[in-house]
């Protein structure tokens, strides 16, 4: 942890889907520049929690403050969303737009950048994720790994202060996972605040400041990855890790 100032403040957040109590009172503070990995079995609420941070999911109770902006009205929510980049499991690139247009659309509509400036930023980011030659291709012409890297570039084009990753490598073929993790590692080294829902233990060891284990809508245990993976305190954590680490 570089510096102690809170950029994401989550306080007693509850969320129900009908009869399912998906989040049961989550408290979590993320510091500026921190990389947090959230682990947990499916249905533990980890994706829901992530999606609450930029209000893609509404929560029933509690409070979330992102970069001193409380998520309480439509205007604040849109402001927060421009400051928070999100990367999805299924990439969710816009298939009707070229790679470059995927990168420039929100820049032009939201950031009001002109075409030339937006394209320059887009090209810079494509270089950063290693596929400048794909600028004029369409998303469906790209491999999964390439699509996910474009998706990361698209989020970065808005100059976010926080990046959220929702199982970014789960939909990828094994040989494509590393190219996406490499981009994420670079981002982490540059000091980006990142909250990552993933089971990529290697990435956690290399880049995460903190690993959090969630189960049944609660945070069970949190610690630096080296400690959590070696000496988990809770039985639930041990059981889960034994499955993931094997």
């Amino acid at each position: 942890m570089k510096k102690s100032d809170t950029i994401i403040h989550i306080e007693n957040v509850h969320k129900r889907f009908g009869s399912v109590h998906a989040l049961r009172g989550i408290d979590l503070d993320v510091q500026r520049g921190e990389v947090v990995l959230i682990l947990g079995p499916s249905g533990s609420g980890k994706s829901t929690l992530l999606r609450c941070i930029n209000r893609l999911e509404e929560f029933d109770r509690g409070r979330i403050v992102v970069d001193n902006i409380p998520l309480d009205n439509a205007e604040n929510i849109n402001t927060v969303r421009t400051e928070v980049g999100m990367v999805f499991q299924q990439f969710n690139l816009f298939p009707h737009l070229s790679v470059m247009d995927n990168l420039t659309l929100a820049q032009r509509v939201i950031r009001k950048r002109d075409k030339k400036e937006a394209r320059e930023i887009g090209m810079e980011l494509l270089n950063k994720v290693g596929i400048p030659e794909k600028a004029d291709n369409y998303p469906l012409q790209l491999s999964g790994g390439q699509q996910q890297r474009v998706a990361i570039a698209r989020a970065l084009a808005m100059n976010p202060r926080i990046m959220l990753f929702d199982e970014p490598t789960s939909a990828l073929d094994p040989e494509m996972i590393q190219e996406v993790l490499d981009v994420m590692l670079t981002l982490a080294k540059e000091g980006m605040t990142m909250v990552v829902v993933s089971h990529e233990i290697g990435f956690a060891r290399a880049a995460a400041d903190r690993a959090i284990l969630m189960d049944a809508g609660r945070i069970i245990e949190e610690a630096p990855p080296a400690i959590l993976f070696k000496n988990p305190k809770h039985e639930r954590t041990k059981l889960f890790l034994s499955k993931v680490l094997s």
């Binding site: 930029n54 893609l56 439509a74 849109n78 402001t79 969303r81 421009t82 928070v84 980049g85 999100m86 999805f88 299924q90 969710n92 690139l93 816009f94 298939p95 009707h96 659309l105 929100a106 509509v109 939201i110 369409y138 469906l140 012409q141 998706a151 698209r154 989020a155 808005m158």
Partner: protein
């Protein structure tokens, strides 16, 4: 290994005439039907100018009215249908309710009855209001047939089109809206830049079919005093007493228009697919 007897064909060697023939075979074979029907019609009109050329000349202004009414109505339907479709997928219960009632009511009443309501009942209603409340401008209201026909058809077809739009919008994966919203776009921006451009490609075939159906249903406006192709045909028949030739010709003219429209729709579909 080449076996004896194998034909060796270098694609570049294929002569122009063979290529022309190959292209024709690959081309949409329905064009052939269009060409046959057009040639048949032209032959009839030239070889038997009386009565066929006379019929065409007599109803030609009706052809233009049919085309004009269809195109104006269709453009209005595209806009009103979009509004209705957006209403149907709205998260606002009131808006969704209004859109749903509109769609259900309009779809439950025959188009012919709706046209009659707009041309006969609606003006009478306005006049009643005018005379009851002593408003001379309303009491003297006289409906314009073409405007009422276009209005009636638009309101009816837009209800069906709303459902087409709704289905198209709902066919776009939820992740697209989420991705757009997570970039900071509001609902309208996400709809406009991300969802609708994709939905339009999805709904192009049903929208094209609606256009062809509308072209045919436009013959119903003949009962509300619009001098379209059908009405002109009835006038010709009344004056000349040759129903067989008259309606053969009218049917052929409609057939040419619908076949060409359907080919145009197919062409549009082909040229709007995603690049892969």
């Amino acid at each position: 290994m080449k076996k004896p007897g194998d034909l060796e064909i270098n694609k570049q060697d294929i002569s122009f005439s063979t290529r022309w023939w190959a292209n024709l075979q690959q081309a949409d074979q329905w064009w052939l039907l269009v060409i046959i029907v057009v040639i048949l019609t032209i032959l009839m009109a030239t070889l038997r100018p009386d009565p066929f050329m006379r019929i065409v000349t007599f109803v030609s202004d009706g052809i233009w009215v049919t085309i004009y009414v269809t195109i104006i109505t269709f453009l209005l339907v595209l806009v009103l249908g979009l509004i209705g479709g957006l209403g149907r997928v709205s998260h606002n219960k009131l808006i969704r309710g209004i859109a749903s009632v509109y769609v259900e009511v309009v779809r439950g009443i025959p188009l012919l009855v709706q046209l009659i309501i707009w041309y006969f009942a609606f003006p009478a209603f306005i006049k009643d209001i005018g005379s009851t409340w002593n408003i001379p401008a309303l009491a003297a209201y006289k409906a314009n047939p073409i405007i009422m026909a276009i209005l009636g058809m638009t309101i009816c077809y837009a209800a069906y089109m709303s459902e087409v739009y709704r289905a198209g919008i709902e066919s776009i994966p939820k992740g697209q809206m989420e991705a757009a919203r997570s970039l900071g776009m509001n609902y309208i921006q996400a709809m406009w830049y991300v969802i609708l451009p994709q939905a339009f490609r999805v709904i192009l075939p049903p929208v094209g079919n609606e256009f062809v159906t509308l072209l045919k249903d436009s013959s119903l406006v003949s009962v509300v005093a619009v001098a379209d192709l059908t009405r002109r045909g009835r006038e010709f028949m009344a004056a000349n007493f040759i129903p067989i030739q008259t309606w053969l010709m009218i049917a052929l003219i409609y057939l040419i228009m619908t076949l060409v429209a359907a080919r145009g729709v197919r062409w549009l579909e082909k040229h709007s697919r995603y690049e892969r």
